[in-house]
């Protein structure tokens, strides 16, 4: 079985492909990039395909009518929305960060 966490790097809808970055979730494999046809994305996930979206690709074998065959699942992660509490935290963090800035002298 192979399990990969993928990040969409870019989408070319005309060509029907997405560029992806793959991190292995099983074993110690280096990161790879590649190209996946959009036809592998299920209808319910199609609206999630955009640059930066995260998905999981699982490749496995299953027994069907007595024979073993390759199977796969590609599912996109659905993201929650920004909450008011998160936006307040961002505002506070930004104010703290901004307060630490000390401009450098400039050359004439």
């Amino acid at each position: 079985m192979q399990v990969w966490e993928g990040t969409v790097l870019g989408v070319n809808r005309e060509a029907g492909v997405m560029q992806v970055l793959l991190d292995a979730k099983i074993g110690q494999m280096p990161r790879h990039t590649g190209e996946v046809d959009l036809e592998w994305v299920s209808e319910q996930d199609k609206d999630l395909v955009r640059s930066g979206a995260v998905f999981y690709l699982t490749l496995f074998k299953r027994t069907r009518q007595g024979s073993i065959e390759n199977s796969q699942e590609l599912r996109f992660r659905r993201r929650p929305s920004w909450s008011a509490a998160q936006l307040k935290q961002i505002e506070d963090d930004a104010a703290l960060l901004y307060s630490k800035m000390r401009p450098l002298p400039t050359s004439a």
Partner: protein
């Protein structure tokens, strides 16, 4: 693990460029044991920031680093920079002045990982540094980052960019990506082209070094605006150049080679491999080599997939054009004795002539 040998002599200037294929870091010896670090990437063997591991191996004490510059916030330039900053607590930490604003600071905070785990790209690294530090130094065109007398010479590190127009362009560009209530939390955007990067001019008394970061070409926001500025053009022409934006066409400004550099400088660059984007292209290499015969790249390793044949065949059913991101780590080291006529070039790991 790469063996780098001895540290530079006190009167020897050094520029070492590290790169694994996706990532870039630079260590500069300014003289008399004083160092400047620019950006950060991970050394896969040391599993640590490349420039920090390098200094440790050649016996440089952490206190000898005067400044750390994060040229911009993209992931390939800041991996491990929060660890690097922690390793050198006395070094000034310099970031692009585009973050000297409440809204851009909010962008870093939003994509810091607190609310958006796994979506942060480089924003998380810079935000972690900002949390750990009491002071951050924003740099833009004409900023004096470091000025010190070493080997009886005035050594001066100044920023050539971002230019003021780029600052406002960045703010405008960023506005559309600021988080809003009930809007889905998404990955931090790439924000290209890059006009916010801090490029550095290092004057070492009788010579100079130009570090081009990832600044791209534009007549008002990018390289042409830098070169057209009288103050920039009055800088001492450099004999060593970290080529901008991985040698790409979009980072190329012919006037840089005329105005800011001496004829036939030593040029070094890192590759960028992610998805379809692979830099430098053959055309990019040809253009750089057309400007100087002394050009080197930190990693020229093959990007062939690294997995067993059964896994590769099965994954290949779904995913075409598989390529490794970090296929080979390497470093290009330039050293020059003060007053010497030319740089001595050493190549480590996967580094090679361009």
């Amino acid at each position: 693990m790469i063996q780098y040998g001895s540290p530079p002599a006190i009167d020897e200037i050094e520029v070492t460029l590290f790169g694994p294929g996706y990532g870039e870091a630079i260590a500069v010896h300014l003289g008399e044991g004083a160092w400047l670090l620019v950006d950060s990437c991970i050394d896969p063997a040391a599993k640590a920031p490349a420039s920090g591991a390098y200094l440790e191996q050649i016996g440089v004490d952490a206190s000898q680093v005067r400044s750390i510059v994060a040229s911009h916030w993209h992931d390939d330039h800041v991996r491990g920079i929060s660890k690097l900053a922690a390793r050198h607590p006395n070094a000034d930490f310099v970031i692009s002045a585009v973050f000297n604003d409440r809204s851009t600071a909010a962008f870093l905070a939003a994509y810091s990982g607190a609310s958006s785990a796994g979506l942060a790209r480089g924003a998380k690294e810079l935000f972690e540094v900002s949390r750990a530090r009491n002071t951050l130094f924003p740099a833009s065109h004409r900023s004096n980052i470091l000025e010190v007398v070493l080997n009886a010479r005035n050594v001066r590190v100044t920023a050539l960019s971002p230019v003021p127009a780029a600052y406002f362009q960045f703010l405008t560009h960023l506005a559309q990506y600021m988080p809003r209530r009930n809007q889905a939390i998404n990955h931090a955007p790439q924000l290209r082209p890059n006009f916010e990067a801090v490029t550095l001019h290092i004057d070492i008394g009788d010579d100079a070094v130009l570090l081009g970061a990832d600044l791209e070409e534009h007549d008002r926001f990018g390289w042409s605006a830098v070169v057209a500025d009288q103050w920039s053009a009055a800088r001492r022409p450099a004999t060593a150049y970290k080529v901008a934006h991985h040698g790409s066409y979009t980072g190329n400004c012919p006037q840089v080679w005329v105005v800011l550099l001496k004829q036939y400088p030593v040029a070094c660059l890192t590759p960028f491999t992610l998805g379809e984007l692979r830099l430098p292209t053959d055309a990019d290499k040809g253009r750089v080599k057309g400007n100087t015969p002394y050009a080197y790249i930190s990693s020229g390793a093959s990007r062939r997939p690294d997995m067993d044949s059964r896994q590769l065949k099965r994954l290949g059913d779904i995913c075409r054009k598989l390529a490794q991101v970090d296929a080979g780590f390497g470093a290009v080291r330039l050293r020059k004795q003060l007053g010497a006529p030319s740089w001595r070039v050493e190549l480590f790991g996967a580094a090679q002539a361009l």
